[in-house]
Symmetry: D2
Subunit: 309 residues, 4 copies
Amino acid sequence: MENLQDLFDKIMGTARNIEEGRVAAYIPELAQVDPSLFSLSMTTLDGTTCSSGDQGCFFSMQSISKAATLCFAIETLGRDKVFSKIGMEPCSEPFNSIMKLEMTSSLPLNPFINAGAIVLTGMFNEQYGSLAIAEIVDFFSRLMGRQTRGSLRINENIYRSEKATADRNRALAYFLHNAGTLSGDVEEALDLYFKLCSIEVNTVDISVMGATLASGGRNPVSGEELLSIDTVYIVCGLMSVCGLYDQSAEFAVEVGIPAKSGVSGGIVCVVPGRMGLGVFSPPLNKSGNSVAGIRALAALSRELKLRGI
Amino acid sequence: MENLQDLFDKIMGTARNIEEGRVAAYIPELAQVDPSLFSLSMTTLDGTTCSSGDQGCFFSMQSISKAATLCFAIETLGRDKVFSKIGMEPCSEPFNSIMKLEMTSSLPLNPFINAGAIVLTGMFNEQYGSLAIAEIVDFFSRLMGRQTRGSLRINENIYRSEKATADRNRALAYFLHNAGTLSGDVEEALDLYFKLCSIEVNTVDISVMGATLASGGRNPVSGEELLSIDTVYIVCGLMSVCGLYDQSAEFAVEVGIPAKSGVSGGIVCVVPGRMGLGVFSPPLNKSGNSVAGIRALAALSRELKLRGI
Amino acid sequence: MENLQDLFDKIMGTARNIEEGRVAAYIPELAQVDPSLFSLSMTTLDGTTCSSGDQGCFFSMQSISKAATLCFAIETLGRDKVFSKIGMEPCSEPFNSIMKLEMTSSLPLNPFINAGAIVLTGMFNEQYGSLAIAEIVDFFSRLMGRQTRGSLRINENIYRSEKATADRNRALAYFLHNAGTLSGDVEEALDLYFKLCSIEVNTVDISVMGATLASGGRNPVSGEELLSIDTVYIVCGLMSVCGLYDQSAEFAVEVGIPAKSGVSGGIVCVVPGRMGLGVFSPPLNKSGNSVAGIRALAALSRELKLRGI
Amino acid sequence: MENLQDLFDKIMGTARNIEEGRVAAYIPELAQVDPSLFSLSMTTLDGTTCSSGDQGCFFSMQSISKAATLCFAIETLGRDKVFSKIGMEPCSEPFNSIMKLEMTSSLPLNPFINAGAIVLTGMFNEQYGSLAIAEIVDFFSRLMGRQTRGSLRINENIYRSEKATADRNRALAYFLHNAGTLSGDVEEALDLYFKLCSIEVNTVDISVMGATLASGGRNPVSGEELLSIDTVYIVCGLMSVCGLYDQSAEFAVEVGIPAKSGVSGGIVCVVPGRMGLGVFSPPLNKSGNSVAGIRALAALSRELKLRGI
């Protein structure tokens, strides 16, 4: 893997010098992050991890949590229940569009838009009550092979900030509740949603998560069987079609592998049968995706023929 | 390849007995087709083809032509020109939505919706004038390795029927022309569009087209280098995100490989680095995709681990 | 006015026998009302009032309050401030559409849709703080010539019910707050909005309100000058274009005078230079307007040539 | 009427000096008009006409024809047939919106948007065949008291220009035809629509048309009974709610009487029971309405208390 480390270092070196994009600013905690941070990690199916850059640095999962949440949802509630209230369609509207909801009779188009993820946290609250957050954090920790590195933690500052500036998500949630799509207490569903967005990870964590999906459901670090193959197919299928907001098609062209991004600047990727990748660089393009992260993944995809050609 | 033929025959046997879906009826020529026809073909990168079912039977390309058209467009006009008037975004609206056009300032979301494909035929007319159709049919023929099997033909009955019942596409085209997105004569752009939809192929043809993309641009039957790797990345990327109308995300979950469908009942698929697939069965689901075709592809995808897992 | 009383009684007799429409059921307090109640009142510019039917019966103002609220808003905040955050456009969407808001960059189309009225209660809270409700109830009372009949009251049961079942309005309000259109505390703006909807009136009250507008701003019962002519022009102009939700154009055809309806079954009308009218009958059509109320007003409009012909 | 002439001259003098707005430029024939032209006419119910400004000058009816067309449609086809394919709703979208049509299942919201008017010309072609234009021009001529002044004429240059630059209307028409809302030949329906838009009138003509509506249907110049009172109620009702495109509510506030505008710069007004008004000044605001025309009408409305107060 020596050559691979060289490749990583080269790609990292080029990508971290890109001076484009702007760090997310909707909450102060995200705005304060150092924009020059960059980290890239890969975990192969034999459990080996290789990293480059500021690999220790943590960031909140934000929408990356939606992919992990979907894994948990299908495994614990079942595919039928999950997709009884959420669609399986691409979405060309912004991630927080209410208009689209009104046009689709309040059925969120897919689990990766905010409306869909909030419907899921409502289901978790119904199922697990106050234990929901602990159950989910435990699942996420195992998904990321945290058994030996300590459990994941919620960044309290980010959680409180998210909660305090959540008018748009609150509007979505009350709209969904009014339509009967979101069950239970609205504020509690939102609270759990904000907590999941605020879980802190690094690129090693998400590369292990990606590798777990890439292997067909078995965590290659811990050896634990976590996901059925059907769950993997669903999550990877949706990642490939709508994992990067309205830039999903462009990402499919430039990188061409299933992925899920978050506005903190992280992206998790799955190369089925081969590896998981995690990248982190805070400055975002107008779609809300990491500029340097995508650039690094595009280079890696071509160099390693990640899409098969 | 004996076992593969057995697998094909088994999958074909199961799929052709599915009694769901309805044959497209918007023009009489499509409505008259025998719904029990079924054909499945695979072409691997060594140029070998394997088929099962009514493999000789022909069908009009319909929207499958949009994938071949995009190949021709990028190769001859260049990526920049093509995407100066067309977006690269998923689309959750129906394939012929005008509403979406009005909301996006008349920029078709991608080249696989009717509006996008009509903008391309307008560009071809500007570039090639009356020679456009001959140029394109020649390109399509080479894409499908037709050198030894004779050039592709347009089904005149279908072409005339399409043209006579094209109010919706005509509305789209005049709307695009008004906005300056479609250049040149509107009726001539529509005429070329209908001709391309009416080109007749069989599943062997489209499996070779798929294999040409799967190989990175070299036709494995004729050995001709037809597409640059960048063209392949674009076409396959869009196929994976928006190749099956509003069922694209579900197809990504169930089958998980780049594909493009048409309302005649055909689907072309690409397994990068491995093979091309073509399937044909006329009865469609409500999204306009072949019911038995998708069922067969889903079975094949699992059996042959086409997505890598 | 003897003949007028006969006409009223005749129209009342016919209208109250209409067995169409359904009483509003979104809160229990509205659903429990006696559907056979009917009341019709007229106040002419000399201060005379004539009534027929169950003239004493009270009902909550609901959206009728929006017309009185707009009077108060323009008189106290000024036209410029009011229309800095709210448009002056007809609306063909439902009264609680969020889609429309998203398409108009969060500028409510007019002050008679819920979003517009909530923006106004936010402005009142900013201006008057906790005194807002007292100020407004006092103004409404004077608008309806309540000086000798005692001040208006809020129906506490209705207010509490509105507040408890307000997901859709809550979604609107958080959406508006997120966009910066609604200032101040969201829940307090909603609270004031629900209180104004819950103010109890009878048809005499609203006929005096109508007469005050019809006179150009002077309450013909109390003699008090309450509204400038510019305020009257604005309120009556909007009533004529968007006073009856998506039935406004049909009402302009059938009745042809400025009016504002509410889902409790009341309608206030203005016949400029002549009189104010109030009608009440709980069963509503699908647009949310009183079936028998509109029928009675249409008959009255033709009999008394209320639109001038 | 001496004082009235003075008032007219004063208002005309003020309004014609307004240097705002831009002359419509979508066809060359409209763009070439002298922007300083201004004409104001009034016809009272005794048949007297009073004018000021360039009263002889002609302009094409454009959307003013939609009000006259609706008169003809209801009188000859009946209210039920007319409103079987067209709604009676206000419209907050632009006059040529296709989006709105797609959302309302292809039912044009009202007869004053292009889609609604084109559906009517399709009905006329079905009813009258090639005689339609002659029938309608004769009716329009009588509506405007042209018996002694010679029949109305179509401006051929404008008609041909409209027809040549009609992509947007063509898109609307094919969309409507596809949905079954527009019957018969699409191009013929468009042809008749363009002819009606190109009929030339002056402000005297349209003031007589307004007076005919104001009288309840009897042309006060010729004495001919042309419209039933029900037709008058429908046409005036729609004029008051949606006569000035998306500026209809603002016009109801500023002027407060039923009216219909056209992009040539003309506006016809109805003061029920009193008079008809016609104004013409080419420069338009962004809604497509005559700036100086509205200014003059607003002044006149206040001076003469046209809305009753």
